[in-house]
Symmetry: C2
Subunit: 233 residues, 2 copies
DNA sequence: TAGTAATTGTTAATTTAATAACAGTGCAAA
DNA sequence: TTTGCACTGTTATTAAATTAACAATTACTA
């Protein structure tokens, strides 16, 4: 089995972390650092140093004892693994606030991943550019995607439209969809789908805040109880 | 152990799914459905029916054989578990595209979770409202958060500011932070932190698209090889 | 009424992910 | 030169999450 096949079997979580390591490493590089220890990376990412070393072991990268990992080398290796050599083009469907936020996030950023087009139905937006990215009419979606060989679509339309947009993206030959609407979409086999729902994330935070609040109250009550009991003596 | 304590020990993933189930269920309710089967929920969420039944088992909800789950009851039970009775207030720090996108996502939505304030440093934004949410000066953050008893902060500022904002939120007494900038922040024990990085998610999609592309090529090469071999006979 | 199909609820098994344990190594200080 | 410390790299263990297996129940059909 060659290196490329090994990478195919990397755990999903490792893939995510590699992307995050790279971002942290690029910042370190900007700060003229040339080596980094596993515990430094770990601190930034809120994980353990062992986790970091294990991930790097999986991709076959070795550091130097007592010196750590060479930042530049590691960045390049991560790029070899997660980036596509030829580059991959991305389209954003829905140039509302979220779509524009994503474009701004990406603009001026490195890597082999570029946002090539935006789509919208609003005539005020069609024909204009956002941060250099042209906005096309949704009606021309298939044509633009095929002509420009765009492989990934990000859905940032109102959730009433998400199903229809996903269908259209698939028909246009898209290979991967990232759906940011709270309504799940369906795709056929062979199209990679990732859904992310901001409301769920916020509700999760709220749940654990609630738990912490109740725990704090419980502890207080318990202390109170103990105190009372103790005062009986 | 009472019911509340049981809920504390629910798997993290189950918490996330409960939030998603609820959203799907609310849509079904709007469509005048009153019961739903585990396989129907599963289909919507791209998971297995067993997973759904297991989650519902964990929260102690029973359906009716051959009739499924009562949608209204289930929605109420999920609300009991994940919502805070008194409600929880949320602040958004950074009223750029992403901050405004989040406000629009939430506005008009149900539940005990409300966005109470936005913050920004831009004088053009301060004093205005977005979808009914007032935007305050970042300088008044601590005061507003304490006065209004806001417990959760969402960070949507440029990533150069994320560290400073997180610090300020913690100092203001916030209990949970949701960081949408690509730069991880630090919080002390007792503050729940959730980080979400859109770039990582997109890079992950790109990775699996790349893998699929390579697989397809491999299969084609293999077929080609087989064909040639066969033609030797 | 007996048989069959569809569905839930639960325990068991498996898979995936994270953590712990520890051997190995090189540098620095005694 | 030796001892101890601070790292890496790897295997072993544990924990979390998912999936499989299957008993139990009900409705429907012949």
């Amino acid at each position: 089995m060659n290196a490329r096949d090994t990478f195919k079997q990397l755990p999903h979580k490792t893939i995510e972390r590699l992307s995050q390591y790279r971002r942290a490493l690029l910042i370190c590089l900007d700060n003229n650092k040339d080596h980094i220890f596993s515990h430094e990376i770990a601190k930034i990412q809120h994980i353990t140093p062992v986790q970091v070393r294990r991930d790097l072991m999986l991709i076959g990268y070795s550091g130097t004892l007592r010196k750590g990992y060479n930042i530049k080398e590691l960045i390049d290796l991560i790029a070899d693994i997660i980036d596509s050599e030829e580059g991959i083009k991305v389209a954003i469907v829905g140039m509302g606030n979220l779509g524009r936020a994503l474009i701004n996030y990406f603009s001026g950023k490195r890597h082999k991943l570029s946002i090539a087009a935006g789509f919208d139905v609003n005539p005020d937006k069609i024909g204009k550019t956002v941060n250099g990215i042209p906005c096309y009419d949704c009606k021309t979606m298939s044509q633009v995607i095929q002509e420009q060989n765009i492989e990934i679509g990000i859905i940032t339309v109102p959730d009433t439209q998400s199903t229809a947009i996903a269908k259209k993206l698939v028909e246009s030959g898209i290979k991967g969809i990232l759906n940011y609407t709270p309504k799940p979409v369906e795709v056929p086999d062979g199209v990679y789908l990732e859904e992310y729902d901001m409301i769920t994330t916020l509700e999760k935070v709220a749940f654990y805040v609630k738990m912490e609040n109740e725990r704090t109250v419980d502890v207080a009550v318990k202390r109170q109880g103990q105190g009372t009991a103790a005062s009986n003596f």
